[in-house]
């Protein structure tokens, strides 16, 4: 009799297990200096500086501005001369302040070191400006079945026996305030080393949070193309950056790969561009 009672008791203990509400615990996050900077041949260096924010923090216009870094000491050196850059407003970018150079200009083949000092931290990055590659021809072609939408096509010859990395950006006159990277803007010569290449370029989105459905250029657009050569570290950054933008929020994607950086003690990119400029009108 007692045995049976005990058995029932054991059974009911299981029944009385408690319910628990799930909640997340997030550790304290240490903000880092984020560099979004570039230098081209014949042009002054341009750098946008921000701080990284904790993931769950909600951001509005007030707090977003708090993340722009405007009190850092920014300097660029080519190995011989160093120039401290000055902060200038620029509405075309986020944040709307840019550190620019006024005396040191980029030169093909040279290395440039960027140093950002802020709150006792020194973030350093080095990049090179590779030799620009010229395009043999470029044209606009309508996409199949479309009567006013199409892509830009370019044809160029890759330099053999050398690893080449490319990045393309376009600016549509009267529409874009600055050059916007194409959709899939980064190329490496894995599949076309030393060969003549023909590729089509898709129009890029301005920002990831404001995706438009259009990858097409329209008939009537006047498009400026910036065809650039970049070094390996820059390519690794832009390639991983692009993957992150595409996969972020997608539950099928893996998060094993991180956005790379060529910045020590910071995040982001300091990129040297060997650029060639072209223009095409979509007809």
């Amino acid at each position: 009799m007692t045995m049976k009672y005990l058995n029932l008791l054991a059974f009911s203990i299981i029944l009385l297990s408690s319910c628990v509400e799930p909640n997340f615990e997030v550790e304290d996050y240490q903000s880092q200096i984020v560099i979004d900077g570039w230098i081209e041949q014949g042009k002054y260096p341009q750098i946008l500086l921000t701080l990284s924010a904790p993931y769950f923090s909600e951001i509005d216009s007030v707090s977003l501005r708090n993340y722009s870094l405007t009190r850092a000491k920014v300097s660029v050196s080519n190995g011989e001369t160093t120039e401290v850059l000055t902060l200038k407003p620029n509405d075309a970018y986020f944040p709307p302040y840019m550190y620019v150079g006024t005396s040191l200009k980029g030169e093909v083949g040279k290395s440039y070191t960027l140093t950002v000092e802020y709150a006792g931290v020194k973030a350093i990055a080095t990049t090179t400006i590779p030799e620009p590659v010229s395009i043999d021809s470029l044209w606009f072609a309508l996409d199949q079945g479309k009567d006013s939408l199409g892509y830009i096509w370019i044809q160029f010859t890759d330099k053999p026996s050398r690893k080449n990395y490319y990045r393309t950006l376009t600016q549509i006159r009267n529409t874009d305030s600055k050059y916007i990277p194409n959709y899939f803007p980064n190329w490496n010569d894995d599949y076309f080393d030393g060969q003549k290449v023909e590729i089509s370029l898709f129009k890029g989105n301005k920002t990831s949070t404001n995706k438009t459905d259009q990858v097409y250029y329209q008939v009537g657009d006047t498009i400026s193309l910036k065809f650039t050569a970049i070094d390996k570290a820059s390519y690794d950054f832009w390639n991983s950056f692009q993957k992150e933008i595409l996969n972020s929020g997608n539950p099928f994607a893996s998060t094993n790969a991180r956005v790379q950086t060529n910045v020590t003690n910071g995040l982001g990119i300091w990129c040297g561009y060997g650029s060639s400029y072209y223009q095409v009108i979509a007809r």
Partner: protein
Amino acid sequence: MKSEFLHRIFVLFFLVTLGIGMLHSQNSYLLTGKVLDAATREPLMNAAILVTPLQIGTISDASGKFELQLPKGQMELQVSFLGYKAVKENINLTKNLSITILLQPNVVEMEGVTISSEKPDQNVTSIQSGTVQLDAKEIAQLPTLMGEPDLINSFRTLPGVQGVGEGNPGLYVRGGDAGQNLMLLDQMPLYNPSHLLGFFPVFSTDIIQNAKLIKGAIPANYGGKTSSVMDISMKEGDFYRFSGNGSVGILSSDLTIETPTQKGKGSLVISGRRTYLEGIKSLSDLIISDSKNFFNQTNYYFYDASLKWVYVLTPKTRLTIATFGGQDKYSLTDGEFEVTNQMDWINWVGSVGIKHTFNENLTANFTSGFSQYQFGIDAGFEAYQFHLFSGVRDYYHRLDFTQKLNHGMLLKYGASFTRHQLTPSKVTGEVEEVSINNINRYYSNEGSIYFQGDVKASENLSLSAGIRPTYYQHVGPYSHYTRDASGLLTDSLTYAENELIEDFFSLDPNLSCVYLLNPQASVKASASLSHQFIHLASVGTVSLPTDIWMPSTQFIKPQKVGLATVGYFRNFLDNQFETSFELYYKYLDNQIDFLNGLLDNFDNTKIEQNIVHGVGQAFGAEIFIKKQYGPLTGWMSYTLSRTLRKFDNINNGYWYPAKYDRVHDFSVTMNYQLNDRWNLSALWVYATGNAMTLPAGRYIIQGNVVNDYTDVNSFRMPAYHRLDLSATRQLKKKEHWESDLVLSVYNVYNRANPYFIYFRVKGDIDHYYLSVNPRQISLFPILPAITLNFKFY
């Protein structure tokens, strides 16, 4: 001329063998028999058969059968089995004889007895630690999920065996991943069998005779997987009587029919099962509000069927044909987040086998079969659309011998050959009007021979040792690009059909021993090294059964796993309680992972060029307590363990927890026979939450938001725990008809166990607004069900 000569040799050989056979049989005859439960006609395994006064004995096998070579004359047969009344039969052996022994259950002695297929002291005396065996009766008493006993889910309640939670039926055995388990149904390998994301049992238990799980050193007769073996035997029909059973529930129904095909010579078991979601939907509507109701947006059905035919060609030879197959179709739409998802899975296995008994000491089995698994996904997420097909097809032949030698030594040896055809992925997709088309297909051959011997070294020490050499080849058709050190393309190679591309040779040794301290306690230890040539690679962070099978190639090396275990085993109260404490350590080499995920194939690289290699370590302590007899039976298990991985390209080369690293894993299951009409059962599981990588911070580059991730898998999802209850009521027995009603509730306190967590970024940099919302999706809320089980004969 040559063929005529050979033909003559063959006929001569045949005649000689026949002659010897005839000579031999003049003085002794073969007694074969079958021991069955008198009421259900179910075979009784490990029944003891003793022939007096000769004092020759044996035990019945998994189908209740036994064989004895006995001298001509009068003798008495004593057949006994725990929980049944012993039977004595007089026989006069003048020729080969076949008998059937029916045993009546011993109702008076014990109430609600659980008939175990193991010897009562198996826990202490068996050589292989880490082996658990369940027979049909035990399986039927397992906690029922939605009214159906679930074999694979029940394995999860054992120490060292963990599940991921819902959504993925994979088992993680002692730190091994879901792809390291060899699941065999009548020796046919099953690759990814599951129904409704692990919610429904893989097979109806009505077709299962018994099931064995090996999580320690794997004996050499099994090969190909490095963490565990689930050896499941399909039920053989009764050779004399027709019967059937089935169940009808609000979610699914199944029916199994057993019939002799030629009385005394053959039997056929046919089974089929189908589910209908309408039941889930209408039930869930009553309980869950629309916005939280996962089932409102889902559509699902599955069916499976099996067939097993056994035919006795001669008293010493039997033929078996078996097949099992099923399909799942599932679709989900989440309008709010623009997610659409359609998936389907197909499993199909089949085999033909011949078993020949040379004498009471030697049997041989030759089997040929195939195994096919494939799944397809059609998914859409905002502007991404992608279609993924993945499949495996195996053809195999195997020859196995079991031989008993002097002094109780048992020897198993044989050979097997498998031809693998894998299509890990066929991805086609559109991402904003850019299309991708990427097909990867591989062919390989895997051949092994093996030797395994069990020997009693002394009164207290028994050993089992074995070796399994394997030769594996990756063959064409296949093509790939080769690159030099700086990454420049230098060559592209194409291989013709069956042309050798890469080969590997492996040797798998294993050693287990048990030392009896006394009849109630023992110490067991084991060590083994095993290799695996077909790997399961995880796609994405979401726990969907979408992982793909990859072969070993010149880029993907065979996995190598070393395992060592030591444990103390003790029974109490005359074997009423079984307890064990075991420690294990596992080192895993050549583990694979995707660096960038499957969607990275935009540039048409081969999958294997996206794979990275690393190592793993797993170690843990397992505690197990089981009550075997009495109205209240059940078991409790607790595992404390870590599973870690280290890859050069991931987490900066530091050790990080595996996705399925569950530090604490606890479960308790109870079955209570209240009276002769009511039976209650309960299951409570608790496990540490899955590890995942969480973005710690955010930053902005070129107006785009980028995630700054913490260390890999450093975030823990909330813990998983759940209570299931069920009650079974026996209904009135009629002539030729029995039935019972099962009331079951899954997730009794309705805990929203997280299935996956992802983050939605909303906002617009230009307008200076950004917000991040974590979204936790849970799969199964509280789910009650009613099922009617019936049996006719």
